[in-house]
Each structure stands twice: as C-alpha cells, then as structure tokens.
Assembly symmetry: D2
Homo-oligomer: 231 residues x 4
C-alpha cells in the first residue's frame, strides 16, 4: 500500500469528489493470497507479476478479494441510485431524514446530452443551445428548495418535506468499503460506454486510484478485461 495515496481526493462533476480514505494490501497481498493454495510465498518481482497476470487471465478472482478500499464519495443521488445496486460493497450514506439538505448542493450539468436514437438507454451528442435550459434548471432548483424550506417551516418532517426536492440532483456524501475483485467488476460495468456519463465520471476517478494503488492488477485488468495492451 502506498501511504501517500491515502487521503487523495479527486473532484467529480460540479460539486462532488472521490476520496481514498484507507486501503488494505497491495499487488503483493493478492499474489501471497493466491500462493496460499500451494503453500508458497512471494518469489520476487517477475514471477509474482506473472502469477498475478495468470490469475486475472484465467478468472481466478478469489485472491483479489484480499485487498480492500475505503472511499468517501460525494455524488448526486442520480449516481448513488445506480451505485448502491452493487450489493457486494458496504455503504453508509448521509441521511435525508437526519439532516436538512443544503440549498447549494444540487448537481448542475455542464452540458445537456441528447437522447440516443439507436440505444434506448443512452445519450449521444449534446444540446447546442444549452444556456436557457440550464437557467431553467437552476431556477427550478431554487423554487423547489424554497418549497422544501416552507414545508420545514410549517413543522413538516424532513423525511417527507423532501418530496419537493429534485432528488436525483441532490448531493449525498457516503462511505464505501469494497474489495479489489468487486471493485474491478464495478469499474468494468460503470466505465463502459453504455453507463450513464455521470457515474462514469465517478468510476473513472476510482479507476485512477486503483491504477495507482494496484499497478500490476490494473495493467492485467486492462489487458484481459478491457482489451487494452500496454505499449
């Protein structure tokens, strides 16, 4: 583990971030977990790296569970809504029942993407004249938040007043703990071209950290799962 990596924070979207809070293990921890199968230990650089590549190529995924990451992530619910569907991670998220939403913590996209014709699910190209729609969005956020505050002022419970909010845009901060095996699976799905652009930004920030923290693992993952050859 590289101590200097702990605490690294990468900005995401207009107000979010991905931060590595802690990490357990490194590429060698994966190699050593694998060598347990035949009672061996690290044999030094080249053989270790070769073994790790072998594991990745042949889907011997178990040893990659012996590295653990803990992230603090700030992202709009639109992203969390997709994120928390990954059931092999641990989550603890800011609660809209405990704390009031902050009027400045809503996501405003830089560009508006157009609906893809060929793909029911995705987007393709951007809206040329986006200023007006963005202005409408900001105005809508302000009005929504004012109604939220009005409900709170009347004594309405936070858990119910939030019905007024444009919730997909509401930033939430949360902790995520996950092992390298399941994190790579997340990255594969969420950096893919058919993933929503917003969650791709989070996934790419996480990927940057994984690349630095587990250089061999990431190289092997690119080679065998993404089909990217190193030069």
């Amino acid at each position: 583990m590289k101590p200097e990596l702990i605490g690294k924070q990468i900005p995401v979207l207009d107000k979010g971030f991905v931060e590595l809070q802690d990490m357990m293990g490194d590429d060698l921890a994966i190699v050593n977990a694998a060598r347990t199968s035949f009672l061996g230990e690290s044999k030094g650089g080249d053989k270790d790296k070769k073994l790790l590549f072998y594991l990745m190529e042949h889907h011997h995924d178990g040893p990659f569970e012996f590295v653990q990451f803990r992230f603090r992530i700030k992202a709009p619910i639109m992203i969390w809504w997709q994120f928390v569907r990954h059931r092999t991670m641990s989550y603890n998220l800011q609660s809209g029942r405990y704390v009031e939403y902050d009027e400045n913590e809503f996501y405003i996209p830089e560009t508006w993407r157009l609906q893809a014709k060929s793909n029911k699910q995705g987007s393709d190209g951007v809206l040329v004249d986006a200023v007006e729609l963005t202005a409408l969005l900001e105005e809508h956020y302000n009005k929504s938040y004012a109604l939220y505050e009005q409900a709170l002022a009347q004594g309405v419970a936070r858990e119910q007043a939030r019905l007024f909010l444009p919730a997909f845009a509401a930033y939430h901060t949360g902790c995520v703990s996950v092992d390298a095996r399941n994190l790579l699976h997340f990255l594969k799905l969420r950096t893919a071209p058919d993933a929503q652009w917003e969650i791709r930004q989070v996934a790419l920030a996480i990927q940057e950290i994984v690349k630095e923290g587990l250089p061999w693992t990431f190289e092997a993952y690119q080679k065998f799962h993404l089909g990217v050859s190193q030069p």
Copy 2:
C-alpha cells in the same frame, strides 16, 4: 405453498402495491431443511411446529433460507431508496433511462407528518391544516413534469432530463426475490416504529403475505422477535 396466495395484490399508499408473484416452499420446507442436519424428515404437525419454534428462538436461521418469495412492488423512489439497501435480495427495477416517467405516477401523501423533537430521524403527529401544502405539492409536481417534458422535447436524454423531477415521489415498479430469513430481517427493521411511515406500509403489506404463506414461521417470529404472544 398456498396456490391461492400467488397473485395476491395489496394496495399501498396512493398508487402503489405489493404483489406476490411466486413462492417456493412452506413452513414444512423449513422444518425439512432443518431435519437434514440429523438426517430426519417431517414427523407430523406438533413436533414439526415445535422444531420450527425452537429454530426461531435459538437463532438457527439457516433453514429459513429454503423458502423463497418473488414480489412485484410499485412504490415511490423514497421507499426504494431505503429498500435496495438490503443487499441480500435480488432486484430488477423500472429504468428511468429506458422509459419516460408518467405524469400521473408521483406520490401524494394523505397527511403531512411533523418532525419529531425527541428523535432526529422520525416524525410525530400530523399537520392539521394540510390542504394548502398538498395543493402546492401537486402544483409543483405538474410544473416539474412540464419542465421534464420540455427538456425531452428539446431532445435531451431521459437519463438527464429527469433532473427536473421530484424523484423521491416518482413511482417505480420492480421485482424482488428474497428468502424467508432475509425477508424477516427486513420486516423487523422496516415495520419498526422508527422506520419511515411510507416504507412501513410496504413492509406491512409484505408481512400480511408472509403471515398467510408461512403461518408457523410468522407466529414464531412474532413471539421471539417482536415479543407478541398469541392469545
């Protein structure tokens, strides 16, 4: 399993429901799974029920995993947001990237609950004069939806146009598959007094089905986990 229970649908909130789509096993399946430990089989009524109660009382939870439920549930995101945090269930949910939201499918609460003073998380009592706030909510839903449609009309992708929507209120239909052990754990947490009222309604509807489908199990669960004695 009671065939007549399959297809049962219980209305929840203003526009939602809980429907049992399918079920595998019954109280006896749990008893027989447990008897595998000592290579036995069902011994008939009284002894079987006694064994099931013993399992529940002493937290021998494994055998309860051998009954499976599949539900179709329609509920606002506010509820799903809490529901999907239960990582031991299988989910497939309506996608806001694939399909347009329907203007009539937003949750309007019957009453407005007041913020509890003693409990940061919950609600306590109801707003007496609620008509005006409800009217504001409906108006807000309409305006939000009009903006959503405007963005779609400009060609904006569904996945992004939904930023305009009051998402916590948006109804989504989804499938849930879960075994009895993990379902009882869900029920315990989500029928509790400190659970949000809206998810309690879903949990109580599910509970009604469990009670009918697994009468011994439910009686034992009430006795040992909820402290309710049968008369």
Copy 3:
C-alpha cells in the same frame, strides 16, 4: 415450472444423488423480470426467447436471479468441501456432531485417475491395475470405522471421534437453495475440464435438471458461455 420435474432424482457416484426438491419460476419468469426495466410484459414466444438470449449474451445477469432451485444432494465431503465455497447459495448439511456416521456411507471410486504431468491440479488417464488399491481402500475404511466405533464405545464425543474417519469419503446429505444466475456460474466452473471429476458428476446431474427446467436459458448459456452451437 414443470411440476413433473419436482422430485426428479439422478444417481451420482456409487452412493450419491442429486434431487430437485422444488423450483420457483421458469424461462418466462426471467423474461418478465427483465421486462420490468421498461415496464413491459411477455410478448409471446419468439420475442421472449430473443430477449432472453440478448440478456445472456450481454451479461445482463440480474433477471436470472428470479428463478430459484432447491436441491437435496448426497455426496462425499470431498465434493461438499468444494461446493460450499460457493457463497451465494444456502446450505443445510447433515451434521457429524449430531448423528453417527454410517459404516456403509463412504465413497469408493470406480477408477483411480493418474496425476496429470502438465497440470499440477488435475488428473489424466487411469490406473490400469486398480483392483488391489481399491481393496486396500475398502479395508482401510473398515478399519477406520472400527476405530471410530471404538472411540464412541468409550464415550468419546461424535465431534471428536470422527478424527479416525477417512472424511473426504464420508457421504453427507444436504439441502441447497440457489438462483439460476449463481447456479449457472457454479455449472460453468464445476463442469469445466479442470474441475475435479467427482464434483463434475454432481454438476452434470444438476445441469441435466437445469436443461429440463429452463430450456431457453440453458440453450443460451451453452451458446454464449460454453461456445456450443445448437444444430
């Protein structure tokens, strides 16, 4: 679900079996779970099958979790030892602490496989003159069991007396509940050529049941995961 499939029992090895005790759902249940994403339902034969194949091809694995199987399996510990490492299934197994082992319930292989030279893990070819070694094995089982009984006769606890037993050979009966997604993953790993021959026999018996219970799913699995084309 085909009711006539319930109760089907397939013999495995010299004394074991795989039995389908119950099943929830069929190919159409998978299709309908998938159609929840876009609020649709079954469209009839061809389109449904095409969708199911699309799901399998593009690794949209979620909907396959909505079919559930419950098996009763009798197999030696050698097999269970590998089986229970699949953490996405529910298990309840005969306990050697509760019940005495039966002297007739130990696995005797039909052939002795030779250690593969090229593959540290596997076997390759069979021992030509196997009669003598098999006789030694049977004799060894008898002596081991006699010592087990002697320890029990002295009052030693079952949980400790079993140290005398050739445990890898000891048959245990157990229940397994698993969804179709995770069962296919098990089948892929455990019917592969590098899986131990004994667990392959169990996996092949399970596969026979899956093929009958989920014909479209199995055809798609063969096509996209095993590379077998239908004629």
Copy 4:
C-alpha cells in the same frame, strides 16, 4: 490501527495458529463511517465512544463493516469445515489437489471429550484414560498416510489419493478477509459454549486480536452481546 499488532501470531491447538496479516481502520473509522449519516466527523474521545456504544446497543451494524481484517490461519479441516460456512468472508485455502499433504500435519487432541448426554451436539467432561486412544490415533494417522503415499507412488492423482487420509485432522493454511461486523457475528457463534471446542480455540485467538485492535468495539460487544460488564 496499531501497526505493532500486524504480524501477531497466536498458537492454536497442537500445530495451528491465527496470524493477523493486515488490518484497515480502527474504532474511530467506525465512528466516522457512522457520522457520515449526519455529515459529521469525530468529536473527540468521550462522545465518539458513546456513539460507538450506541451503535452496538441498537444494532446499527453497518458502520462496523468499515474495518477490515486479513488473517492467515492454520487449522485442521474439522475447523475449516465449520469456518467456511460463514459466507460473508473471503477465503483462499491450501489445496489438496495442488500440494501433497505433509505426514506431520495432522491434529492430535490433547484430551478426548465425552459425548454430552443432554446435548446431542456437544461434549461434556473428558476421557480419564486417554493415552491408549491417542496412541491408536497416531498409529492410525501413520498407516493412513502410508497408504496415501502408496497410492501416490502408483501415480494416483493427489485429488483422489487423499481418500485414504483422516481428513478432519489434516491441517490446512488459509487466508481470511472479513469486516468487523461479520467477524463479531462469527465470534458470537463460535466462542459460544455449544460451539465445538476446537473452533472455539481459533475464535478465542481471533477475539484476542479484535480486543487489541478495536478496544471500544470489543468492550461494547461484550457489554451488549455477551452480557459482560467491565469492572
């Protein structure tokens, strides 16, 4: 995390051990994960400890998932057979298909426990005159191992030759990665009086490490889950 704790190895039974290989997080990591819910951070000693006790008392178990342990454990299969049934841990174990068993690596109990009369599952009291039975066991291990070697000498595959071995006694080394929440659940079940004595020794060694690595958590666990008050 206490760096001096990493590498601590505690002997277990006659030839086994529990070793802490790595650890991520400490009591404060749990507190900080919990405070994410209301966007707060550590408030310093007393308030932090009070919050942690509150979490434990009220079964808010999520935050305890943000501490991770990686152990290397050497134990006979008798113990692993029970251990690996905990499906919320990651395992990588020495393989009897890859490597030959070592003739010196079989468990010999110090005492022979008697079968409990009142409890079908457990033991109660010890065999007074144990020397003879232990001698029989050692002799049996030697004969079994000689047969194993004979089969190997004839070219039989390791995976099959092991049928001759007293497998419950065979030591295996393995890696285990687990978060604090699921580890405490393991400890509760496996240090209990009805757990088999052998796995209790492993659980007690793990407990010693948890107590040192997470002193507040362990104190709270004792207080609320074991009913032990601190003096």
